[in-house]
Structures are given as C-alpha cells and as structure tokens.
Amino acid sequence: MKRLLSKLTFWKVVAGLVLISGACSAAVRYLGGLGAATNLTDEFPWGLWIGFDVLCGVGLAAGGFTLAGIVYIFNVKRFEPIIRPTILTAFLGYLLVILALMFDLGRPLQIWHAIIMWNPRSVMFEVAWCVMLYTTVLALEFSPVVMEKLKMTRTMKVIKKITIPLIIAGVLLSTLHQSSLGSLYLIIPEKLYGLWYSPYLPVFFFVSAISVGCAMVIFESLLSSHAFNRGLELDLLSEIGKVAVVGLAVYLTMKVVDLADRHALSLLWLPRMETYLYWLEMVVGVIAPLLLLSRRRVRESRNGLFLSAVMVIVGFVLNRMNVSITGLEAWAGASYFPSWMEISVTVSIVAAGFVLFAYGAKYLPLFKQHPKTVSIAPSEAEWLQDLKTVSQPS
C-alpha cells in the first residue's frame, strides 16, 4: 500500500511538472507568436504539432470507429464491454486534437471561419468539417454514459433511438477524416519523398488507422486492467488481434504493390536516411507485429498482445512523422527538430489525455461489468520463445 502511494504521488508530481512546463510554453507561444515558441520556418511550416498531435492524435483515436463498427454494425455484441472506454478515448483524442490546433493555428480565434467561408476544393476544408462533425458525433455517442450517471433516462432514450444512424455517421466521418489526412499530402508529389508519396496516400492512412485502432483497443484495455483492475477477457482481445492482422496484411500488400507500380522499389536500397527510416517504420510497425500476431500463441498471451500492439502504435507514429516531417526535409532544403517548448506542449496534451481518462474511469460508469480479472496467458516464457523463433532467420 505504501509503495503504491509513493508511486501514485510520483506520477502526480511528474504530471504536474509536465503541465507546468506546458503552461510556460503556452504563454510564450501566445505572447510572442509561433516564432518565439517553435522551430518552424518559412521552409518548414508544419512541425510536431501537426505531425504528432494532429496526425497521430486522430489516428490513435481510430479505435472508436473501428470498435463501434464491429459492435453495432456487424453486431458482434461480445465486444460491448469495451465500447465505452474506447469511445471515451476517441472523444478525448479529438478534443485534444482541437486543443493542439488552437496552439498551431496562427489565428486560432478565427477557427470558426471554416464554418462560413467555404472552399470545397481544399482538403483542409474537409479536414476541418470532419473534426467538427465527428467530435459532435463522438460527444453524442458518449453522452449516454454521462446521462446514465446523472440519471437522465428520458434524454437517454432519445439518444438510444438514434444510435444506429449516429454510428453510421461516425464510421463514415472517420473514414473520410482518416483518409483526408493522407490526402493533405497529395498536393506535394515532388516534395514528399518517393517512398511515402503515393496517389494512394488516403487509402494508406485509412487502412493503417484501422490496424492502429485495433492496437489501441488492446493497449488501452490491458493498461486499464492493470491500472483500474478492470478490463477485458483476453479471448476478446485476441479476436481484435486477428482484425489487426488482416489490416496489417492488407496494408503491407498494398504498400509493396504501390511501390512496384510506381517503379520505386529501387528506393528501398538507396543508402539514404529516408531508406533507413522507412525500413524501421515498416519492420517495427507492420512486418514484425504481423508475424507476431499471426501466431496463435502470441495472440493468446497477454504480454504478446501488448508487445505487438505497442509495436503497431510505434510504427504508426513513425509513419506519420515520416510523412509529415522527415519525408519533406530533403526537398524543402531545410531540417526541422521541435523546440523544447513544442515538445512540452505536446507532452502536456498527452498527459492531459491520461488524466482526463483516469477521471472518466473513476467517476463514470465506463466499465459496465463488474471488475474482471484478466485471464492469465500461458506464460511469459512461452511467447518469448515464440518471439525468438519468429525472429530467427529461416
């Protein structure tokens, strides 16, 4: 108990420090302009806040629509127990993306212009509308949880009635939004390095969002089972692991076919920085977890699942950073590394997400079932053994 207490205060102190440094950076940014707080330049106008906070934030919220689709559209009710925490994560994710935009936009108080000043030929216009509409849909999807807590049964019934249209709208908006973030980069065919630029960028962004959505569900569920002693039965997570395998396999195939199609396969062997980063992203985030998760033993082990999910998430983040930052540096003739202030704002936003989720888990009926213990996997040693056999060259 004592140890737990000291651990808790430790993390609280860390979170406090992070948030304080974030607040300082925010002050610098709003009093001195973007130039005072960031390392952005005319040659490199988008940095960490767009690359990580927005691109990754939206992607990591993809668990929301993936799972909502599985549970409500495909009627796989077994997954219902985790739908609420997943929707909450997605909702918080979108709120934090909007918060990040308030930092990154040069004129944040004019963000509402997108509502009345239209330019339907702009991908950014589509992105703006997707953010607005999908955040609203997520709020509505999550509202029954709050209403349940507040015992607002009548309004709850109304929302329940429109569940299916809401879910369908949510899945469609997510599809558009995930892919549109890829479409943003369609307009810079020469600027974005050949390993990443593809006319299929929107499709890649969408498919990778599905696998990372699955990975996030696994990741969160295992984490909350650890932190709140609540979570999911392992067999359900294994099933989600299977969906991730399909997503990863489709993604990998498409990536290879696309490279071949564009006669860009030779880029894979050029001794350049981009090549190494591309391989890192593909091996860590796609190939390795694909091999791992397609083995039943890994899928059915707690640690195996967790490790694979983390790899998918890391690979996803690497991909988005490569598309938004590293892949552009050569053409732009500029290099970019975020300032400590940019980093501290980003870390603060992530920390805020964790804190909000923890409060949600504490005060809202997020987990419907009684606390469940997660069934224990065969044993750690076994999947470690698996890992070795997988990684051994044949």
Binding site: L31, W46, I73, N75, D104, H113, R121, S122, S179, I187
Partner: protein, 258 residues
C-alpha cells in the same frame, strides 16, 4: 475577356542592382533594407547563384495551388493574373506555405496575429493600367510586363534570334500547369536553385481526384453500412426468435417477428 498578364524575366539581362526590390518595398509599404531572400518584408529578392542573379517572387500560377488548398478561400486568382491574399479570412493553418510548389509564401512568425506575405503582382497598379513597380524600375529590361501569350512568343523569338545563348526552356510556361512569371536563362535552371522537376499538370487536380470521391464514399458507404446492420440485426432477431420457439416461450401462431 481580359487577357491574363504576365512578366518575362530574362536572367541574362539582370545586372543585380536590386532596383526591383527597392521599388517593390516602396510600392507595398514594406520595411526598408536590402534582403537577399524572400521574407515577410521582401516580396521579391535577388538570389545569386554562380554569378547569375535569380529574382525570386510569387509565380502567380495559372491554377494556383495556394488558392486550391486554403480552407477558407483566403486566396483568389484574379482575371488579370495576380494571386491575392485576404488576411481577414485567414485562420493561419499554413497549408498554403506547405503546398506551394515554389516555396513562396512567408509568415509573420513573430506576430501574435500573423499574416501570410507574398507578392501581389501590384494588383492595384495593374487594374489602373500601370505596370508593376518592379518592371517599371528595372533599368536593364530584365523584367518585362505584358500579356502572357505575347511574352511567351517574345521569349521564343529571343531564343531564335540568338541560337545557343539560352537554355531551350521557358520556366513557368508549363510548370504546374503554367505560371504568370516566366524565366529564360543561359544557365540550366537546376543549377540556379529552380525546382526543375515539377510536373506539367496543375497540382490541384491531385487533391481534387480524392475530394471528388467523397459523395460516392458517403452514399455507397452509408447504404452498405446500413445494409450490413440490417442483415446482422435481422440475423440476431431470428436467432432470438428460434431460441424462444425452442424453449416454448412463444407459439408459432403468435406471428412472425416484427
């Protein structure tokens, strides 16, 4: 119809006197002082590459990328040729800077209410029938203002008149679908810091390809999702019904499931 205006910049004639930048700064009320690169206070600048002066400025593309990417329509291309920016609309997303194939737009990074800054092709002068301040100021005739078609012809004539002097390429004639600023030179463009590998079709088509699919995705996707839901839901209902039948809780003549 108004003929689209353009400028022909002949790099072989430029003497590097910087008169264009000075005239530009005066005409647009920008902070004085010589600048060697484009900035928020320099809409044009002379970059020196191996003894050749390259005057950089907004290309005033025929189908401008900046116009197409701006979510709030802060950029417009006028009939006369200038591409103009409306700071009142701008939300500061900087997509225009990210997407411009010539890396032209600059930002007021140190401002708390920043603007995007770039050449305006002296729009107000042009509509009054004057030529842009820079073209008027150039003592060497390196910058010439006129109708786009005429200037392309003139460039071709200059090339023909002095074979071997020029590289046989008019930069801006075909790049990203054509631009209103045209360059000719005796040194290959790639050696002068020009992006020489740009495609010849307009960039906005690339994103439009994706955007124009949205109605299809929404309608087909919506119907598909609804259909799947209907089938899976029906299946679950039927299962429940059969279950109840088996357990004898419901007799068949009670009617079909609703």
């Amino acid at each position: 119809m108004i003929k689209s205006k353009a400028m022909l910049i002949d790099l072989t004639l430029c003497v590097g006197c910087n008169a264009c930048q000075e005239a530009c700064k005066t005409a647009n009320g920008l902070a004085e002082g010589e600048e060697k690169r484009l900035s928020a206070t320099a809409y044009t600048a002379l970059e020196e590459h191996d003894g050749v002066y390259v005057r950089r400025m907004c290309q005033h593309c025929v189908e401008p990328t900046c116009v197409s990417v701006c979510p709030v329509g802060a950029f417009v291309k006028t009939e006369e040729g200038p591409v103009l920016y409306d700071e009142e609309k701008c939300i500061g997303c900087r997509y225009c800077m990210q997407a411009c194939p010539f890396q032209v737009p600059r930002y007021e990074w140190r401002s708390t209410f920043p603007r995007v800054r770039k050449c305006v092709f002296c729009d107000s002068r042009i509509t009054q029938g004057l030529q842009p301040a820079c073209a008027e100021a150039c003592p060497a005739g390196a910058t010439k203002f006129g109708d786009r078609d005429d200037l392309i012809q003139e460039a071709l004539d200059r090339m023909k008149a002095d074979p071997g002097k020029y590289v046989s390429r008019i930069y801006g004639r075909h790049e990203v679908g054509g631009t209103s600023i045209l360059y000719i030179t005796s040194v290959p463009f790639e050696q002068l810091g020009f992006k020489a590998d740009l495609q010849t079709t307009a960039l906005p088509d690339l994103t439009w390809n994706a955007l124009s699919k949205i109605p299809g995705v929404v309608s087909v996707g919506g119907v598909l999702l609804y259909g799947i839901w209907w089938i899976t839901n029906r299946r679950a209902e039927v299962q429940r019904y059969e279950q109840e039948l088996k357990e004898g809780n419901r007799s068949p003549d009670q009617g079909a499931i609703s």
